[in-house]
Assembly symmetry: C2
């Protein structure tokens, strides 16, 4: 398995500036979001100039590593990226899972180094943005600046989502609901989806033992909240799941 760092050296093949790139990149949710913020066509062109399409990365590939010098942020275009730290004793701490349309690396600006690892959980495609260049561009494009502010602001809130002291059931329900909603935002089905990460990763993220995750999911299944086959999830009773998650998500 290739576990090298591929992020700082984007594959030249996927950077080809062929005629399809503009259309191709219009599927990049990050650009889309900027567009939605009122950026005009020429502004979008400026963005395209500094986008690098990276990938495909495969499960286990690192997007960046903790301690690497910070150079760029990236928008996930396809697949799932896990961010995590490793403490001095080698124990991993999962910080988050990042779905298509979400941006990673924003927590590296302060410190000039990535404070965590970013690892592909499946086949991942990225849009890479040199940060100095996008920041420079943002001084000319207020909408872009505003969008960057918004993205970072949201990450602050997301990071404290699971900060509370809730039960294992509540955290798991919140995890499933949150995952479902984020998928729905990008046009995926909110009822049927695949958990691309291992039980161990979920457990770590939710501050639980993997055994607890397994037991909670089984109980959810027994109470007809969800149906689970391997990593495939079908949500059967969204209202009740949302009710359980309410204490964590607050809406």
């Amino acid at each position: 398995m290739n576990s090298g760092v591929v992020f700082p050296r984007p594959n030249p093949k996927v950077l080809a500036d062929d005629g399809d790139e503009l259309r191709f990149c219009s599927t990049c949710a990050f650009s889309q979001a900027c567009l939605a913020e009122g950026m005009d066509k020429s502004a979008l062109m400026d963005l395209h100039v500094l986008v690098e399409h990276v990938g495909p990365l495969h499960a286990g590939d690192h997007v960046f590593r903790e301690g690497d010098p910070f150079e760029a942020i990236a928008a996930v275009r396809a697949g799932t990226v896990k961010t995590c730290t490793v403490d001095p004793e080698g124990r991993e701490q999962v910080l988050g899972f990042h779905l298509p349309g979400e941006v990673i690396g924003l927590n590296a600006i302060h410190g000039d180094r990535y404070p965590c690892n970013a690892v592909a959980l499946d086949t991942v495609m990225l849009c890479r943005f040199s940060f100095p260049r996008i920041a420079m561009l943002a001084t000319r494009l207020p909408n872009l600046q505003q969008q960057l502010f918004r993205l970072m602001s949201r990450d602050i809130g997301v990071a404290s989502l699971f900060a509370g002291n809730h039960s294992a059931d509540e955290r798991m329900a919140a995890f499933l609901v949150s995952f479902s909603r984020r998928l729905a935002e990008r046009g995926f089905s909110p009822r049927r989806f695949q958990l691309t990460m291992s039980r161990t990763d979920i457990a770590n993220y939710l501050r639980q033992a993997p055994e607890t995750v397994s037991r909670v999911l089984r109980r959810f299944e027994q109470s007809k909240l969800v149906s689970i086959k391997q990593r495939d999830v079908e949500i059967l009773d969204m209202p009740r799941l949302e009710a359980m998650a309410l204490a964590v998500l607050r809406h």
Copy 2:
């Protein structure tokens, strides 16, 4: 006790544009930080124009409330501010404590409303910055923009500091060390300081029961790690405390 929202209506008395304001505001750590980032004198003047000095606020006063429309960020100049949410059942969740030199409100950009309450824990002085105006200014002053990016980026990291699944002792040690370091950054003593928040607030922040906080602190005192009289803390063995906190803080 006055528990009204004072933030959106700064006290006119402290906004007086007398000759001392420039010197006065030079004690505002936010401006200082921007200065340190290489802003020249005229840039600083631009900042001063849009600063509003707010305060003094007293213990229990709200700086802003969850749900209030987002208009401004604020730098703490003196005192301590607690940010917290309240869930549908009325249970509070403490998100953080903010010391002089730290900025609050950055998590409100996304959503256009404050996602949490901000409450003064003691006598608090603030610098208030209209966000639309400071964002506008940031397009002209790349150093200011960069500073805002940095502040938000740091908040992402801070929010996930206590995300890990650590023991009560480790979290408390990390809390004390982190508090001490942040005070030291601003020139306060890192060995002797006052915990301006209640045990209940600390407990909530660390996901513990107040009783657990009490017991952990007593054990710390018995092992000569710290000396505690009410809310006054003296750290007696910083190396050992830092060692305990290592798993949480990672440095």
